[in-house]
């Protein structure tokens, strides 16, 4: 796999040999020099045409989680997506998901950013893409799920202050509708099926919802294909080629 990666990288920067590996421990003098701003510039020109965005742990919302939690922060992700959209050297984006879910609005913000990206994007769910990870997974042009990966589909919950019961219920219902409409718009699952999975009983301990495993996610139309990194990269390269052809057609 290392070899495969290098090959792609070499293609990106015009067949240059990758830099020899750096010394294991830079001497204190080296560190001093780096402090003075004498940086090794050629190192930075190593550009890959495919960038990879990993969404791991909890998707953090407006409240900062304690440092021991593994989180994905939208204030990190969103500028990265903007940079990917702007950088002409980047031709495709691979999204790797292994998330338990998290903040609905932050998750939807990332999903909308990915869905509106003009460059080809492929998502791969490894381990888990639960809860708000579902709209992120389906937001890409093509989605993959590992055979052993799972996705939990469950109703939206709200933690915090309840002002009035009918209002809170209506607010939750609207929020849930946003997730349902996003998922059904960006995948092949029907609204009825998605809601059926969402409100199903007896699948999760002390909760309603369904835990969808790899093949089932594809069967329900939520995800496009079962696969791993190899298939995902192949598909992304295909989409990049397709995108290039389309752009060339527009110029003519």
């Amino acid at each position: 796999m290392d070899h495969d990666y290098r090959w792609k990288n070499a293609e990106g920067d015009g067949g240059q040999e990758p830099e020899p590996p750096k010394e294991e421990k830079p001497s204190p003098l080296m560190e001093k020099i780096q402090q003075l701003g004498q940086t090794n510039v050629p190192q930075l020109s190593q550009d890959s045409k495919i960038h990879c965005l990993t969404i791991v742990g909890q998707i953090e919302g407006h409240m900062q989680l304690p440092p021991q939690n593994k989180t994905t922060k939208y204030e990190h992700i969103i500028p990265q997506i903007v940079a990917i959209e702007q950088n002409p050297k980047i031709e495709g984006l691979l999204i790797i998901l292994n998330t338990v879910g998290g903040d609905v609005e932050a998750g939807l913000a990332i999903s909308e950013m990915l869905a509106s990206l003009s460059k080809p994007s492929v998502s791969l769910v490894l381990g888990g893409g639960h809860s708000i990870g579902v709209p992120i997974a389906v937001s890409c042009d093509y989605s993959f799920i590992a055979e052993t990966a799972t996705m939990t589909i469950h109703p939206i919950r709200l933690t915090g202050l309840v002002i009035g019961v009918p209002q809170t219920f209506e607010y939750l219902d609207k929020m849930q509708e946003r997730v349902v409409s996003f998922v059904t718009k960006h995948s092949n699952i029907s609204e009825e099926k998605f809601k059926e999975l969402m409100f199903d009983k007896g699948n999760l301990t002390r909760d309603i919802g369904t835990n969808v495993i790899g093949n089932d996610a594809v069967k329900y139309g939520l995800i496009d294909e079962v696969g791993g990194i190899g298939q995902a990269m192949k598909k992304l390269n295909e989409l990049i080629e397709l995108n290039k052809e389309e752009n060339e057609g527009m110029v003519q």
Binding site: N9, Q43, C52, H76, A83
Partner: protein, 70 residues
């Protein structure tokens, strides 16, 4: 003790500010990194915040590597 509540743990037991202060997001040679301060004023890399896969192969920024910030 078992707390039966829908409230998140961090709302029930607020986290000390000092826990958050230890970690910083820095831009080091054009790469965003999450770093944690060590006892001897050096910073240890926790996470590389980059989408460029080449940055993850750079041994200088591997998680656990020590970097010094001016």
């Amino acid at each position: 003790m078992i707390l039966y509540t829908t409230m998140p743990l961090e709302l029930v037991y607020p986290i000390a500010e000092s826990e958050f202060a230890k970690r910083r997001t820095v831009n080091y040679e054009g790469i965003s990194l999450i770093v944690e301060q060590d006892e001897d004023h050096a910073y240890r890399v926790i996470q590389v915040l980059s989408t460029n896969p080449a940055h993850f192969l750079d041994t200088r920024f591997q998680p656990g590597a020590k970097i010094s910030l001016s």
